[in-house]
């Protein structure tokens, strides 16, 4: 026993030393050099692959964090009733609230904690990418947990499989299909937001991190068509390669973690795959990655935890030899109480001082700004529906179309549209429509992809026999759409809309207010107001007030509109066996 503990301690110590060394190295030397604004010498083009690699590393770091986060969060929310009541509404808010709105505060935190070092800015950007990836993955894990087949759970209970073994053998593998699908979406979302993560402004200080996102933006700003073109080509190449060597094989491999709910020979949920990829997937078949992953997990986390608890127990027993046990308990309680009180006081002072600051006169515009922003979102939503509904049916029902169009859509969704804003803006301002139309187009880029991803999944999940019924009874096309397709798509349409609106609100923050060539282009809207408060007026009170009113507004809409709608759709249009 003692030997075992010693061994665990060794693990933990090695890990600790490694972490400290890594931390110091990063602290001292930083990650990658900075790219300076406006300088686009030919040498910069040669550095493009390197810049893309930096961005990729940021994405990867954020994704690994999101993966661990979602596996833990989704698991607790989905398997613990009491946790569910808190965690799910919280996730709901996190997902639908424009995280970009909180970004100034987050950057401020990271940068000041790390003394304005490069590392702090780097962490802030990873954090922002994380927020664009994590929620939807956590939801995926949660959804898997609550839809696990009842009999499988009974089987595990009756075999007395609990704790870690149950997580490793059951929960983790079950989550794989949804996790892979949502990861693709998350990576697309991450690339999309990359520009905003690599150009970080705090008041007067501007940080730009070396990466493909900042490169694209600078190129667009400088009007360098060559830079834009080469940048996009490099990025799209990387995304395509990732698709071919990572996501495709993973999608096929993930199929083996799917339950067969219906005993049937026709599978309705097969993704479009080239036969060559089937081979790769087939070879992967025998590699049980979640199991391996779980083992690493187990070694690091569990052993680490046990070492910590052993240490704590030692300290405790040493202490209790000197001081009576009761006193220790009281001391711990007191410490927590003091800490809690301190935090409460700090928080109250913060809120108080915030509202003692004079509110700029722009604060009166908040309700109207929200109203106008809402109108823009509605227009963007209608445009999204007009093209995504027919296209998703086309893709979902036709294997060939899916094989060609899905990768195109997945790649298009990944293009950091935020980097292209200057170009879009230029086009609309010079030709027609002006900033208002430009803003709507920009919102659209942040909204439509979520809707189509969800819709395609929905159409694919329509059981084959329902479609056969339509054919067997000789339904007309119109009738088929009204009686079969649209009702069956309803739940996924609503889920997609909720996420899509979340993406839309997020895009709003960067769409209504664009700085380009030293000029500010903006419209009246809550996103613009927030940016104005942050970058122009530097008014923290207005900033907080805008974010809070926006959050309250979104949460209210979600509670009283989308959730209700979802409940109705889930009851009326659910396909059960």
């Amino acid at each position: 026993m003692v030997n075992k503990v010693r061994e665990k301690q060794k693990y933990f110590l090695v890990l600790l030393v490694f972490l400290v060394v890594a931390f110091v190295l990063v602290w001292k030397f930083g990650v990658g050099p900075k790219l300076h604004a406006g300088k686009l010498e030919p040498s910069n083009f040669f550095r493009l692959p390197l810049l893309t690699f930096y961005s990729f590393l940021r994405m990867l770091a954020a994704y690994v964090l999101a993966l661990f986060f979602s596996l833990a969060y989704g698991y607790y929310a989905g398997t613990n009733r009491r946790m569910e009541k808190v965690l799910v509404p919280l996730l709901d808010i996190l997902q639908s609230v424009p995280v970009l709105g909180f970004f100034p505060a987050a950057i401020y935190f990271f940068v000041s904690v790390f003394h304005h070092s490069h590392f702090g800015v780097e962490l802030a950007s990873v954090f922002l990418i994380f927020t664009s990836q994590a929620w939807n993955m956590a939801f995926g894990v949660y959804e898997t947990m609550v839809t696990l087949p009842k009999e499988a759970i009974d089987a595990l209970d009756s075999l007395n499989i609990r704790g870690w073994l149950r997580y490793r053998r059951f929960y983790l593998p079950s989550a794989v299909p949804k996790l892979v699908y949502n990861s693709i979406m998350s990576w697309a979302g991450g690339w999309y937001i990359l520009t905003a993560c690599e150009l970080i402004a705090i008041g007067q200080a501007n940080y730009s991190l070396a990466g493909i996102g900042s490169f694209l933006f600078r190129s667009a700003e400088a009007g360098s068509g060559m830079g834009l073109f080469l940048g996009l080509v490099t990025l799209i190449s990387l995304i395509t390669v990732l698709h071919l060597v990572v996501w495709r094989p993973l999608t096929i491999w993930a199929e083996r973690f799917r339950y067969e709910f219906v005993v049937s020979t026709v599978s309705t949920n097969q993704p479009a795959i080239f036969s060559a990829w089937r081979n790769v997937g087939g070879r992967l078949h025998h590699v049980n990655v979640p199991d391996k992953l779980a083992r690493v997990y187990s070694k690091v986390i569990r052993h680490g935890m046990s070492v910590v608890s052993v240490k704590l127990r030692e300290i405790y027993s040493h202490l209790s030899a000197i001081v009576p046990k009761k006193l220790i308990g009281k001391a711990i309680k007191l410490a927590f109480l003091i800490l809690g009180l301190y935090l409460l006081v700090e928080f109250s002072i913060g809120v108080y001082s915030l509202f003692r600051m004079p509110l700029p006169k722009e604060a009166a515009d908040i309700p109207l700004a929200i109203f106008f922003s809402m109108l823009r979102l509605i227009v963007a939503f209608i445009i999204s529906l007009l093209w995504t509904v027919p296209v998703s049916v086309w893709i979902g029902e036709n294997e060939k179309v899916s094989r060609i169009l899905m990768p195109v859509i997945e790649i298009a969704a990944s293009i950091p549209a935020t980097a292209l804003f200057p170009v879009v803006l230029l086009f609309f301002i010079n030709s027609f429509g002006g900033m208002n139309l430009a803003a709507i187009v920009l919102i659209l880029t942040g909204m439509q992809w979520y809707i189509i991803f969800n819709l395609v999944a929905g159409v694919r999940n329509i059981p084959g026999d329902l479609k056969e019924v339509a054919t067997a009874f000789g339904m007309k096309r119109r009738q088929y759409w009204l009686k079969v397709l649209l009702p069956a798509m309803m739940p996924s349409l609503i889920t997609g809309s909720i996420t899509g609106w979340g993406g839309g609100w997020n895009a709003l923050i960067v769409s209504e207010y664009v700085v380009f060539g030293g000029t500010v282009y903006s419209v009246l809207g809550i996103g613009a107001l927030l940016d104005k408060a942050t970058y122009q007026l530097g008014s923290q009170s207005l900033m907080v007030l805008s974010v809070v009113s926006l959050v309250i507004f979104i949460v209210l809409i979600n509670r009283f509109f989308w959730r209700k709608l979802y409940k109705i759709a889930a009851e009326r249009f659910k396909i059960e066996y």
Binding site: E151, A155, S158, L159, I161, L165, R169
Partner: protein
């Protein structure tokens, strides 16, 4: 001393505003060595009763005694076979069968040996490395059976184990279960089976308990005194079936 004693068990499932009464004051005693079939229409709570008897579900009121001790958790001396097989699709046949042994912290070699033995017993030798999706329905249920037997339970519980199988496959598996139950060397000596087929109950069980629906109540309890193998053409067999039918309708 009865092996299992169900003592005034009431089970309610909470609903939004009210609660649904599924089991209404159930009293049953199961003796060591019996093969008990629970039959009844859907909604009679037979599956719920089975799960209560093994400790998968806790009763709202009343209690279940196992060897005279109240059951507070899953009974580790029982194992269950399911209608949908409930196999884990990412584990091989071997992996699925070893699952219950892993939870009982048996050494890897011991697990392997035991799993192989029971896989062979259910007639699946050679399929150890196959995945569930590569198997037919009947073979999947054999894996489910091997998984349950591998933990060497005293009680084997089966919840509509043959409903998802075609008639021929079901008939074969029924015979096999009876063979395993009657063999002296096997640890399983008591079987509890839920079914909605009266003929199946009469063909297999030594005792049939009949339940009625909404709420679930016991309306009949008879011993089937026929030697194995039983013949469906037999007059007595049909008499049993008829009297059970009369109890349900």
């Amino acid at each position: 001393m009865p092996l299992i004693k169900v003592d005034h068990v009431v089970k309610e499932f909470p609903r939004e505003h009210s609660s649904l009464l599924v089991l209404d004051d159930i009293n049953v005693e199961v003796q060591d060595g019996e093969f008990v079939a629970l039959v009844g229409p859907s909604g009679s709570g037979k599956s719920t009763l089975l799960r209560t008897m093994t400790g998968l579900i806790m009763p709202t009121r009343g209690q279940v005694l196992y060897k005279d001790k109240p059951l507070r958790d899953v009974n580790l001396e029982s194992a269950m076979v399911f209608q949908s097989f409930a196999l884990l699709p990412w584990l091989t046949v071997q992996g699925n069968v070893e699952l219950g042994l892993e939870a009982r912290s048996i050494s890897p070699e011991g697990r392997k040996k035991k799993a192989e033995f029971y896989i062979e017993q259910v007639g699946l030798a050679g399929f150890e490395e196959a995945y569930p999706r590569e198997l037919s329905g009947g073979m999947k249920q054999r894996v489910g059976l091997a998984r349950a037997l591998a933990i060497e339970p005293k009680i084997l519980c089966m919840d509509e184990p043959f409903s998802a199988l075609d008639a021929l496959t079901a008939a074969n598996l029924r015979e096999e279960v009876i063979r395993l139950w009657s063999e002296e060397t096997f640890p399983v000596d008591t079987v509890l089976m839920v079914t909605h087929l009266i003929e199946e109950a009469v063909a297999m069980a030594s005792r049939v308990i009949v339940m009625s629906a909404h709420p679930g109540k016991i309306v009949g309890d008879i011993k089937i005194d026929l030697p194995y193998p039983r013949n469906k053409m037999d007059e007595q067999f049909n008499q049993y079936c008829d009297s059970l039918f009369a109890m349900i309708t």
